[in-house]
């Protein structure tokens, strides 16, 4: 229990250090762009495929139930709301935690163990700015973009099912989807995605940057990055629901 509290303290301190250093010059924009590209490149396909399948499966499985109530025409709004509000962000974030978070943990961990981070520091570079700040900014920016993409692909998957089984046209389907969406659905889920991206970057960097000695240290850093990030994601998601509920009541 004590070690968990210490861990949380250190993680908060690390996140605080990010905010202190993010404004300092120089901004390592080249490394930032490279990280953005890497992240998109590494997770695009996975996010796309998962989104598509979730759209398909979700629609196929809820169809019989809706049919029983004679409510198939509600399908687009139901699928749209659940994907955009909840499923899209959390699934994309979990995939990225596994793919990007663990990658960052392993990369920074092995740089720490092989003294590359020390070598950077004696080369007149602040390694925290160069390695950590750029990666956290990149995950924070890229995750919402990936979420939008995954939402779109999932909805398309759902549309395909509806089109085959219920003869619904593209235009009708998406009119229904967007007709049922409100800003109250889109804004919280977008804000949430930024926080998810930030969490993935911070935890991955924290685990890698403070990695223990030896090759097992690197393995542990990568693994812990995924486990901790997933936990943090669920907690954030819960908080997000609480907060947006308060706004609904207003």
């Amino acid at each position: 229990m004590k070690s968990i509290l210490i861990e949380i303290g250190e993680l908060s301190y690390f996140a605080g250090r990010f905010f202190r250093e993010v404004g300092k010059r120089p901004f390592e924009y080249k490394e930032f762009l490279r990280q953005c590209y890497n992240m998109g490149n590494r997770s695009l396909l996975l996010v796309g495929i998962t989104g598509f399948i979730i759209g398909l499966v979700f629609t196929l499985q809820s169809r019989p139930t809706l049919q029983e109530f004679g409510a198939v025409s509600w399908m687009p709004s139901m699928v749209g709301i659940s994907i955009i509000r909840e499923i899209g962000p959390i699934i994309t974030a979990l995939i990225c935690a596994g793919r990007i978070g663990s990658g960052i943990g392993a990369e920074l961990g092995s740089m720490r163990v092989t003294e590359q981070i020390d070598a950077m520091e004696v080369s007149g570079t602040n390694p925290f700015k160069y390695l950590v700040v750029t990666r956290i900014l990149a995950t924070t920016l890229m995750l919402p973009i990936l979420v939008v993409l995954s939402d779109a692909i999932a909805l398309y998957g759902s549309y395909l099912v509806e089109n085959l089984k219920g003869d619904v046209s593209f235009q009708l389907y998406f009119n229904e989807v967007f007709g049922s969406l409100e800003f109250g659905d889109i804004i919280p889920s977008t804000v949430k995605s930024f926080f998810f991206g930030f969490a993935i970057g911070v935890v991955g960097c924290f685990k890698g940057y403070t990695c223990g000695k030896g090759t097992e240290g690197v393995g542990r850093a990568a693994n812990a990055a995924v486990v901790y990030t997933s936990m943090v994601l669920f907690i954030l998601d819960f908080l997000a629901v609480l907060v947006s509920d308060i706004f609904y009541d207003l």
Binding site: T114, E115, Q116, D118, A119, V122, G124, T125
Partner: protein, 249 residues
């Protein structure tokens, strides 16, 4: 041999203490490095040799004691002054520490482009990169990635990355560890060549008796966090203290 006592010291360490939790690594370590000399430091694995040279360039903070490098107390330096001082000190890391994600060329350009105080903004780094690579005999490796290099080549590229800043002091952390005897010998010859060409003062940390014999002007044995014994290679080898003898077996 020439008398080193009249030479001026470039690094002076007095009463250095460093502990990690319960592990007291350095317990009052003293050291002088004189201009132009090769000082070899030997000590068992885990005796704190790497920690000591990391304190020297401010990568680790020491608990107490003073470290003076080229007339500056490193505790008094601001971050920028420390960066400036670091351009004068080359550091060859124990595992080479080449950046995996960058090619050899980018590895060498990195310190050049980053130390803007000393070099200004460099438009064309190619000649400087080539010069450094040629002095380690690996000009052809310029476009390779670190994982395409052998252990010995990595060590040389790492040395080239150090030399590109034209430092006046070089710190070698186990330059020959993990290499076969022939490659080790080549690295030692390279170190001697570098010392003549660039007129550097060096601290060499090593377990390798052959390397020490070949390169040492003076040696320090680091035992229990202190400079246990000091002297030339031959005087130390003839010493009958079993703790000292253990290093030469």
């Amino acid at each position: 041999m020439e008398d080193l006592s009249i030479k001026k010291p470039v690094i002076t360490i007095r009463n250095l203490y460093k502990r990690f939790g319960d592990n007291a690594v350095l317990n009052g370590f003293d050291m002088d490095l004189f201009e132009g000399e090769n000082l070899v430091i030997m000590g068992k694995s885990g005796s704190g040799k790497s920690v000591m040279i990391k304190c020297l360039i401010g990568l680790e903070e020491h608990d107490s004691g003073t470290i003076n490098v080229m007339g500056k107390d490193i505790d008094d330096l601001e971050a920028e002054e420390l960066d400036e001082l670091r351009t004068e000190i080359g550091f060859l890391f124990q595992g080479s520490a080449l950046y995996d994600s960058m090619s050899v060329r980018e590895n060498l350009e990195f310190p050049l482009r980053r130390h803007t105080k000393k070099f200004g903004v460099i438009k064309d780094a190619e000649p400087l990169v080539m010069e450094a690579l040629e002095s380690v005999g690996l000009a052809k490796a310029i476009d390779l990635m670190p994982d395409e290099l052998s252990g010995g080549m990595k060590r040389r590229i790492a040395l080239a990355r150090t030399l590109i800043l034209k430092p006046s002091i070089i710190l070698y952390d186990e330059p020959t560890t993990g290499l076969d005897p022939i490659t080790s010998k080549e690295i030692v010859q390279l170190m001697q060549k570098v010392q003549q060409q660039y007129k550097t003062s060096s601290i060499i940390i090593t377990h390798d008796v052959d390397c020490a014999r070949a390169i040492a002007n003076r040696m320090i044995l680091l035992i229990d966090g202190k400079n246990y014994a000091e002297g030339s290679f031959d005087t130390l080898r003839k010493n009958h203290d079993p703790k000292i003898q253990a290093f030469f077996k």
